[in-house]
Every structure is written in structure tokens, then in C-alpha cells.
Subunit: 369 residues, 3 copies
């Protein structure tokens, strides 16, 4: 080795000026869902739906085995897109039309493609702009059970690297993606009642009334475990795991601290709501829209609530109904002198951190219990 | 959504007045033992018995694969009972007659039922009482290899919610539960000696002398990892994971901090004792009685010791013997000005945290090495 | 139990005077690689090579499934030797001639033997000496696919327990160990190009130029997760997990704190370098030499760089080449008043923590993309 080697530093990810309208990224890596990541995430979130906990129950319902819950499908698929789409992002603005398809099992391998639907420079800040993308996740590409497992759009605020560069501004139409939630057929011969004690008895479709808000009872304090959890997902964004980078310039970063990857409160809120809302769900149909409304840090305790906004029949399946909900996440922050209220105890204010408009396919008691 | 939704908060778990003598809970969920939870717990405890570490060794002994160690069987089974039995408990008072049956393998699904044996209001505190229960865990219910894997009783101190309610006081007899430890047959043709180097050479049945106490050498510092570990077990008790709840009223909670779930020192003490005590065990027969004698917090370092209290032959198997032990867990707490003693170094006192009377089935050197 | 039991404390591991030249340890335990430990380590290190992430890709290349990356093979194999070789070590001095053989898959069981090649008392400190050993790891001993997966030498500084004892000083020759990296055959009929988007496009053999140093972009902050990670590996050394022991005598221990097990920065540096260096590698051929040059503690952020030192053809395989590299790990430590430099930002100094001379087998673009 010579004493003066040539030094290389690769720029990873794309900046605003690098995105081309209609461009398609076939993301690197892909990820096989192991029992390791399944246990870390499904169980960390306190998910209670037996489809994700009890293999004999899942098989009896017609699944091949333990079902990877939608929150974990989302985390694995979403993380595959980070390097190309949001490694140089300032913030993830919105999740849009997130739909689920085939069930994902342990051993399945997920690969993702993303199309650029829109690029728009900021009118006020020449260093920023918004990128609008559509991503689709497939499992077991090239194998007999290849299937689409998820598709979604998102808008993300991305930094520009070189202000002088032009931007490929505009918007193109999203692709039609055939992604419909697979449901195991209801078979009258199956002994659903004999397994009914394994899920909660008061979360069938008949039990929900629009106009109610359920304050979920459990809270969960996050620790710096989030660094490990984020790495295990292949999310490579440095704002979640590089304390030295934060220390050099804390003012540049939200809160001056390592921020928790948004996918973690996303899936944690889903888990905290599970015993009250989707213990008897067969799947999540669509997340119409969702966003993070405040950052989360190690030491914060996450709580969740669900608004029941509507109910409707399923087009083809009388054994289930569709529950229209809004999932809300929040935490409490110290607030000197604040009086107690319906919203928060004395000395605290309630800060909303997450919201997600979510349609769920829920079993009817008439058919399953 | 109307602006004034009706707010629901579900009360989870039972209070003293909710328990009925003879009542049976068929607990929700069930849990499939994945390789994820197997690795987190078996290996976190520093278990050294090759049956739980080396699949080719376990198969050569006649097991189907890696054997889930008794501490993890207990954690998985016990946690299934928390919501119904002890979500509203003040303390777990005693483990009684905890017996093991069929071996548990990765992929097995555990489901648990609990019968209420006794309810007794406190004579001194109208807000408290003791509930006495008997729980039985089965694996693979309804499948060809359905079997009882564990049965136990416990007494737990539970809060009353409404002091004016009457309590179903009394005691009923426990059920007879056919739960006997399965042992792989000793087959003279197997090359046990060729594998003997994989376990410690000085922990055969012949090596133990009643009247000795083994101070296990290794210690293990617990971190706030306990929050994650507890969630992964489906233990939903908020005193282990909800820092906000503690902050609002620290005096109500032991130590004013998140307390570590007792199952964690239980299994950690088992692991720390493994190289000296059960490296050559084929299984744990029974835990006659056990209790937590002091709380454990993040930052504490756990140590363990084992008293050898007796030895006896196995009724039907000349290749093994039964070792009668008491497992003790302890930690050291700072104690200003304390002199050094046999028990603790200067400036510290020794605090016992756990004890368990435990009969173990141990291989004889004459047959295995 | 009598009131005055006889107390036993087992001495674990060997001290300098216990080692005999030419002695062979057949290490206890063995370890089956579960999906739990695979996920914890492969993904924690931010490894990006699809062979370790994407099972359908690995199968398409001719592997049986997900390939355990060399860093994890090393961690599992090395840890098996700790109790016998380095439980009573002061420091691990050097890794030598670390070579890889058969691929390791989830479900494989690794067992290790170690031969004592040298023992040498310190000339300056009668309490210390150096032990030189050669270890070989096999998988699935006694089964159809038994194979050598790794062999290596190391030198370790070990404490003497009894200064008056003589030491078996000397050096014997290492064994010849047939351990060559298995490579899946290149088959022209396979659609390698159809999978080429899953790995980085600029890390084929043709892309590397000797005389360059690649500063890898990502950093990773370590937390006290290292305690759990080390236990999960069966590394039993108390300096990584027993805070009470440190508190009693902090001056005796490096930094007066729990030190992170060297295997963790070893594998983390490999992972951080992956996207730039071995995203298109088929395996690691040999680590000629390696050492830890400074300790790592919880809170430190790890960075890595790779020097490209040479390139050569593979003796029998035109589809790959051998890349000769030096992997370097470092962290930044606060340094009052330090001016900014090429090496470190103002107020910090750069501290090298690890170096490893490493030959990698890398695919040629001509054959694979």
C-alpha cells in the first residue's frame, strides 16, 4: 500500500436532482423473513392476534403457518426502498393507498420495485423538494408462489445536493397494481368455534360501533433498542444509528438526538391496538393515508387509540365485514405547570405522534364463534 | 367521525372479586416457539447443556431436535396466564409443584388452561387478597403429538377493584394432572461416550455430594433489554414496560422504577447454574416451591448458587438419578460502611432475590461417559 | 441441608501453567445456528450481500439457502473456544491465518477443536504469558455433510494463577488443515444477469484499483446491547457482562467499564464495509492477520475503511478474482482543543480500533452482470 492512497467516499442514495419522472428502481438486497426477525417484531409490538402467534390456529384457518402481520410486512418492504428513495430525506411526509395482497410466511423472500411518480422543488427552500413514489413488494420472485404482497405510494421531502442542477419536475400517473388482500375461504366444516377462546370475545365485526374511540390500555416505553431494531430491518438511514454524526451538529437534527425510525411507532401502535381492534381480523385491507406528526425518542412511552369511523359489508364475503378506523399514536411530554385535563395528567401535555386511516377485514361472530 | 366520540377504555384482566372457585380459564393466544424466541432466551441465560445448543447431540440422544430448556418452557407457558390471572396483581407469591412432561421443540405451539383453586381476601387490607390457581400447558392441541408439557400451581396477590363486592372465598382441590417428565430411552448401542466431551465432565450424578453449596462463578448484568424480553414473551403487565405510568406515581411501585419480570431472574438463575449443575441433566422433574424474595432492576448483576440437598434413585431408570437441589439467586447492593464478610465485599450487602426447590434428572457416568 | 454446607467454587478455564504443548481441546457445547442468532448478527451488522439476505438469490447461485456470512461463522466458532483458551486471558493479541471452508447454513451445528502450539512466559511480568493455539471448526460432525468450515490460529495473553508453577514452554508446528473455500460452480445457463440488480453495480472485481482507500460512509453506535449479543454467542468472559465485578475494582479493567467483546467490532466492521467491498463476493478466503488496537465501549460509534492492496487471479476459476484488502475500524474520541484535520473533526481524535488483512473472492462483471 502506498503511503498516499487515493481516498474514495461513495455517495449513497439519491438527491432531489437525481430522480427522473417514471424512473423505476429495482431495489437491492431483498429480504427473507426469518424466524428471528419475525420474533423480534411481531412480539415486540405486543400483537395478540393468534394468526401471528399460534401456528396451529393459523393452519386451521387455511394459512400455511404463522402469518407475518401487516406491520412487519410493511417494515420489511418499506426498508428495502430507503437507500434509493429516502437515504437523503429530511422527512417522510405521507403514506398513501397502502394495500396488502398475498399472505407472507416465515421463509418468504420479499423484493421491491419503486416508480417515481412526481418530483417537485420547494417554492420556499431551494435545498428541498418533494418526491412522490409508488412501490410494490413481491414475494418469492421467479418461484411457484410468486405474488404481490403489498403496494403503496409515499411522499418524501428530499434534500438537493447541488442547487444549480435542474430538477425533473412533474407528475405521472400511478400504475394500476393488482393487489387485493387474500382471505382464507370460510369453510363451514371447520371447527372455528373450538378455537374461538384463543382470540378476544368482544372484537367481532358486530361489536364495533361507529362514533366510538377506544383508548388502548397498554403503553410501551422505547429504549435505545431502536438502533438494533432499525438495523435488523436494513434501514440504513444514519439519523437512527450514528450518534457521532449527531454530536458533531446536533442543531441540524430533530431534537438533537437519534430519532426513532418511523416504522417502529407505526408497527408499535398497530400492536398496542391489537387486543381491542384486530384480534379477530383476517387482515388489513388498506391504509388510505398516514403520517408521523411528531418525533419519537428513546425513553418515550407510546400509547395508542383507535376511532371507529365506519363499517361496511365485504363485496363478496358474508363472513367478514370491513371496519373503517383511524389509528392514533401519542406520547406524554412534561409541561411545567400544566393542569390535569381529559387529555393528560397534571404536569404533562399529550403529543400526537402518528395517525393512520385504516380499513380492516374483521370476522363476524355469526360465522366464527 | 363526530367531534365527541364515545370513549371506551377496556378493563383488562381480573380483579379479586372476579375470580370464581373452580372456574377454568382457557387462555387466549397460544404461542408457537420460534427460533427467534429460542435464541433470545436459551442463549441469553448462558445455558450450557448441549441438548439446548447442539441439534446433532440432541438428535443422537433421541430427541427430535434442539430441546427447549425448562426455563423457557416455563416462561412461555406462564406468560400465557398473565392477562387472566395476574394482570392486576400486586405480587406473585409462590410457585408450587411445577412439573414438566413432554419435551418442547422449536415449532411446537403451547396453549394453557388455568383453574381457580382458591380465593382469600386479606384480613388486614380490604383492597387485596390471594388467588390460588392451577395451570396446565399443552403442546400442539388437536394434532398427532398433542401432549402436556407442564403443570403448576401458583399463589398471587391480586387487587380488588370494588371493595363493596363480595368475594367467592374458599378452596377447592387441585385436579390430578398426568404430567411426567419424558426421558429418551437409554440405548446401549448409542455412542454416548463419543459425545461426552460436549458436556462438562464433572457433573454426572456420581459427582454430587449432599451438604455442598456450589457458588456459581458467572454473573450477568441486566440492562433495560428486559422490556423487550418481557414483551417478546407476551407478558403484558405494565409494571415492566410503561415508564410513564411509573413516573405519574412512583411511590405506588416497588422501587419507583420499572421492575424486571420475575420470569427473567428465574430463567437467568437456571442458566447461570447450568455448567455446574445440569450440564448432564436430561430434564427438570419438578420445582416443589419457589419464590421471588426481592425485586430486580436494570443495572443489577445477578449471581446464583445451588445447594445439593439430596440424591435418590429414579424409580424405573438405572441410567439416571434424581438430584434434589435448592437454587438461590442474589445480587449485591451498595451498603455504606459495610465491612467485608464471607457473604459480600466491603461496602456491599448480599440480597437474595430468588429461591427454587428443584429436582433434576441427571445422567450417571456409568451409563453415559 | 446442614447449616454449614461445604462451599464449592469451580475454577473455570485454564491458566498459563495449565496449557501443555500439543494438547488438544475438544470444546464443549457446540452450537446450532438458528434463525434467531442469524438475524441478530447478520442484520445487526448492516451486511448487504444478498447471499446472506435473500434465500432465493442464494439458492439460484447454488447454495442450499441463506449463507451465514464469514463474520458470524467466525463469532460462533471462536466463542466455542473461549472457556478453554481465553476465559482467563488479559487480551487477545492476534488472529493468524484464519481460513474458511464449507458454507454454513441455518440449521448447521458447529463444533470446534483447538491444539496448543506454543506457550511462552512473559520476560517482564511473572504473572503473564502468551499461548498460541490452532483451532478448527467442523459442521455436522458424524453426519453426511460433515465438513471443515473454518480454521485459524491465535495468540492470547493469559494470566498465571500460581507463579511458582512451571510452564510447558516451547512451540510445536501447526497441523496441516485441509480448509479451502467452497465456491458454487459458475454455470453459464443460470440467469445471473436477471438477479444482478440485487447487489451493488460497482463492486465487481473489475471495479477495484489497488492503492485506493474506501472510507465507508455508514457509522453505527453501539449500546449496552453488546451484553446480550455476547451472551447469545456463548462467550462467557465476565469482562463483557459482569458490572459488579468491574465496580469492585475498576482500575484492574480496561477503561474501568464493561468492554465490548472484540468479535463484535470485528463483525461490525465487516458489515459496514459490505456495500462498498463485498456485495459481490462469494466468500472470504483468508484473514492473514488481524488485531484489536483499542477497546470499544457502549456509546462509541464504529466506522470502517478498506484499503485495496492488491488483486490477483483465482488459480482455477476465471469467473472470480481475489481482492487483497486491509479492513480498518475506528472511532472518534473527544479531544479538548484538537483542530480539525483530514482525520477527525475539530475537538475529536480518530482512534483505530481494529485491523484485518483480508483476501476476498469477488465475482467478475464479465461473468455475472
Amino acid at each position: 500500500m502506498s503511503e498516499t492512497p487515493r481516498v474514495l467516499r461513495k455517495i449513497t442514495g439519491n438527491h432531489l436532482e437525481d430522480f427522473r419522472l417514471g424512473q423505476v428502481f429495482r431495489h437491492k438486497g431483498g429480504k427473507t423473513v426469518t424466524e428471528g426477525i419475525f420474533a423480534s417484531f411481531t412480539e415486540f409490538t405486543m400483537t395478540t392476534n393468534p394468526l401471528a402467534k399460534n401456528a396451529r390456529y393459523a393452519r386451521a384457518y387455511g394459512y400455511r403457518g404463522l402469518v407475518v402481520p401487516p406491520g412487519l410486512v410493511m417494515l420489511v418492504a418499506f426498508s428495502q426502498t430507503v437507500e434509493d428513495v429516502s437515504e437523503n430525506a429530511r422527512a417522510n411526509l405521507e403514506y398513501i393507498d397502502m394495500r396488502f395482497g398475498a399472505p407472507v410466511y416465515v421463509g418468504d423472500t420479499i423484493e421491491v420495485e419503486t416508480k417515481v411518480l412526481g418530483v417537485k422543488p420547494s417554492s420556499s427552500n431551494p435545498k428541498l423538494g418533494v418526491v412522490h413514489v409508488q412501490s410494490t413488494a413481491r414475494k418469492n420472485v421467479g418461484e411457484a408462489d410468486e405474488a404481490i404482497v403489498m403496494t403503496w405510494q409515499r411522499k418524501v421531502q428530499v434534500w438537493k445536493r447541488d442547487e444549480s442542477k435542474t430538477v425533473d419536475e412533474g407528475e405521472v400517473a400511478p400504475d394500476e397494481v393488482a393487489c387485493e388482500l387474500w382471505l382464507p375461504p370460510h369453510q363451514p366444516g371447520r371447527d372455528y368455534k373450538g378455537m374461538a377462546h384463543l382470540s378476544s370475545g368482544d372484537t367481532y365485526f358486530e361489536d364495533f360501533a361507529p362514533g366510538t374511540r377506544i383508548e388502548h390500555w397498554r403503553g410501551r416505553t422505547m429504549t435505545d433498542e431502536h438502533i438494533h431494531l432499525t438495523a435488523v430491518l436494513d434501514n440504513t438511514s444514519q439519523v437512527h444509528c450514528n450518534q457521532h454524526m449527531i454530536d458533531l451538529n446536533p442543531k441540524q437534527y430533530v431534537g438533537g438526538r437519534l430519532i426513532i425510525f418511523g416504522g417502529i411507532p407505526f408497527t408499535l401502535c398497530l400492536g398496542l391496538s391489537c387486543p381491542d381492534v384486530h384480534d379477530n381480523a383476517l387482515g388489513d385491507l388498506v391504509y388510505h393515508t398516514g403520517r408521523h406528526t411528531a418525533p419519537l425518542f428513546a425513553g418515550d412511552t407510546v400509547f395508542a387509540a383507535t376511532e371507529i369511523r365506519g363499517k361496511r359489508d365485504h363485496a363478496t364475503r358474508p363472513d367478514v365485514g370491513i371496519l373503517e378506523t383511524r389509528l392514533l399514536g401519542h406520547k406524554f411530554e412534561k409541561s411545567e405547570g400544566a393542569a390535569a385535563s381529559d387529555e393528560a395528567p397534571a404536569g404533562y401535555k399529550k403529543t400526537q405522534i402518528f395517525e393512520l386511516d385504516r380499513d380492516i377485514v374483521v370476522k363476524r361472530r355469526s360465522h366464527y364463534a
